[in-house]
Amino acid sequence: MSTMTMIEAIRATLHAEMRRDDRVTVLGQDVGQLGGVFRATADLRDEFGSSRVVDMPLAEAVIAGSALGLAASGMVPVAEIQFLGFTHQGFHQIASQVARYRYRSRGRYPLQLTIRTPFGGGVRTPELHSDALEAQFVQSPGLKVVMPATAYDAKGLLAEAIRDPDPVLFCEPLRGYRMVKGEVPDEDYTVGFGRARTARQGSDVTIVAWSAAVQMALGAADELARQGIDATVLDLRTLVPLDVEGLAEAVAATGRCVVVHEAPLSAGFGAEVVATLQDECFYDLEAPVARVTAPDTPYPLAGIEDQYLPSVQRVVDATIRTVNQV
């Protein structure tokens, strides 16, 4: 057991998976010599050589598209797209090609393939580096969408992603890279997909979140506790597959729910959470599920991002309103 930041957990997992399976190949911009702009892939090249840790040209579509070909060839690619915002440059390869290749080949070419990509706000990145675009990938069946919030899960979910026979989009919260720390077992383990995690158990209301928003939800829960409101915090961990049952149970238990995400409101994954709850536990809901999200605007420059993003205070306020609703 060691205490690690998320980025350390990710780095350790990449090392471990490359040792475990020599088909695992890391590719992406600046992943080799530099070890990644956030050093997620540091020292990999020294250990595994430049044919397994490959600096790619600046071209996202061929990073994703050649990863597809590598997987079809029998390798296990772990591609990095430097920021989730730049998956758009390779969107057709990820959403139309990678997601459907098993399907389109009737199982002949399953893709054991992971695309890692950092995202999310709050760390003063330039334009297009912070966007939370996860919902766009949920509308791409065939892909799994994984959003770890803790160092423990970053390791367990990344190991699972690399070993999973299906393609996985693995989104890493920039804000969590160095700020989120936790206990991480040294031994091998995986965290299965499709199982939400109860990050905090409460009885009055359920706050649903994923990725960096989980920390925010926990912060809000602490503040709410001081005000006498006892909140469950449910970390979805994977959006696809969605833990439909775990979600419904956690919300049915309290009858009230707030969902938090960094993406804009309209058609964000929060909408799916509400729609699912409404379908699964309509009669348990004592108040409308509140959504605390960014507004329907592009991500602004850093000088105003704190007002743009959901905050602990906004989660607290929305939760109090939800709890007080009769």
Binding site: T25, S50, S51, V54, D55, M56, P57, A59, A61, V62, A64, G65, S66, A67, L68, G69, L70, A71, A72, S73, G74, M75, P77, H92, Q93, S96, Q97, Y101, R102, Y103, R104, S105, R106, G107, R108, Y109, P110, P141, G142, K144, D164, P165, D166, G194, V240, P241, L242, D243, V244, E245
Partner: protein
């Protein structure tokens, strides 16, 4: 492998298209021919099978039994002779959607083609022993796949070559550029086989690019380039075989521009009379690649009417067989919608499958 760009690249001429069949039956450069008579006959048979399949498929489409499909008619030499320059069972073929005879040569069953165009996903499958990727509908998206495939097989220590097909139209997509550039950096054993068939639906070649030749793009990626008369089966085969040698020897990728012509409509929903003029079509009809190879073989006595009749009978039999299999294959059921989305259904997907299967419409 990726740390050094190859220093010397063998630049194949990108000027006049290579021809190896003269109009008279002789060859301007017989030394370069890599197919003996049997090999030439094998290519011809495969080309003729392709033409026969086209004709049958179009008539079945008109009867409403097949969906929209694109024929190979006019491009048989380009597709077939190139695909047959690779080793079946060893090398790999990555198609767009107009490469049936090449896919078949490498083991994709004709009945799958029929099923695919009957709208049955069973046709999308590729048998395990066939080294063929699925038909590609999103133009140029297959080119990066081919580079990854070639790269991955090489990383695993195999000396296999990948050929990827795409059109003059598809060559305008960013995927073409990104893939060629990566292949150049990696020195990957891949052949970019660009079929310039004159048109991308209604868009003529001259409006697709101002480049004098598509092969002129090769130096911009540090890879070899070649231009070939795509209706000359022997030239197509030779140029591709040379590219295979180069790739196999570790000398990296080649971009081959095959100048050919789409003799029919773009697909069965298209009406080319809206944009092609008769003179152009007639000019290319006179260069029909099948008739041309037949003339070449007939000149040396290797081809005659009897043989033609025999090949036609064989082709008919093969088509009947494959159609039989296709029509006997059960219509798709709801499970076809859900199978192979993931290795296993999620809770949600299992519910959706049950709901759609259970008549709970």
């Amino acid at each position: 492998m990726t740390s050094e760009a190859p220093s010397e690249v063998p630049h194949v001429t990108s000027g006049t298209p290579l021809r190896l069949m003269g109009d008279d039956g002789g060859s301007p450069d017989p030394q370069r021919i890599r197919l003996d008579e049997d090999g030439q006959l094998a290519v011809l048979r495969q080309m003729m099978l392709s033409r026969a399949v086209d004709q049958r498929a179009v008539s079945l489409q008109r009867q409403g039994r097949f969906g929209t499909l694109s024929t190979v008619t006019g491009q048989e030499a380009s597709v077939t002779a190139s695909a047959m320059a690779l080793e079946r069972g060893r090398d790999w073929l990555v198609p767009q959607y107009r490469e049936l005879p090449g896919m078949m040569y490498h083991g994709y069953p004709l009945e799958h083609f029929f099923l695919y165009f009957m709208g049955n996903m069973a046709g999308a499958g590729v048998p395990d022993e066939a080294r063929v990727l699925p038909i590609q509908i999103a133009l140029a998206a297959q080119i990066p796949h081919a580079v990854g495939l070639a790269w991955g097989r090489q990383l695993q220590g195999h000396d296999e070559v990948v050929i990827v097909y795409f059109g003059d139209g598809a060559s305008s997509e960013g995927d073409f550029h990104e893939a060629c550039n990566l292949a150049g950096i990696l020195g990957a054993p891949v052949i970019f086989f660009l079929q310039d068939n004159g048109w991308a639906i209604s868009t003529p070649r001259r409006m697709q690019s101002a480049a004098a030749s598509f092969a002129d793009r090769a130096p911009g990626y540090g890879i070899a380039g070649a231009v070939v008369d795509g209706n000359d089966a022997l030239a197509v085969h030779a140029v591709t075989a040379e590219a295979v040698d180069r790739a196999r020897a570790g000398d990296g990728p080649t971009l081959i521009e095959s100048k050919t012509y789409r003799l029919g409509p773009h697909n069965t929903a298209d009406d080319p009379t809206r944009y092609v003029d008769d003179a152009e079509r007639e000019e290319w009809e006179a260069r029909d690649p099948i008739a041309r190879l037949q003339r070449h073989l007939a000149a040396s006595g290797a081809w005659d009417d009897d043989l033609a009749a025999e090949v036609e009978r064989d082709n008919e039999a093969e088509i009947e067989r494959a159609l039989g299999v296709a029509f006997e294959t059960p219509s798709p059921t709801v499970d076809q919608i859900f199978d192979h989305v993931y290795a296993a259904d999620s809770v949600r997907l299992a519910r959706q499958r049950a709901s759609l299967s259970g008549g709970d419409r």
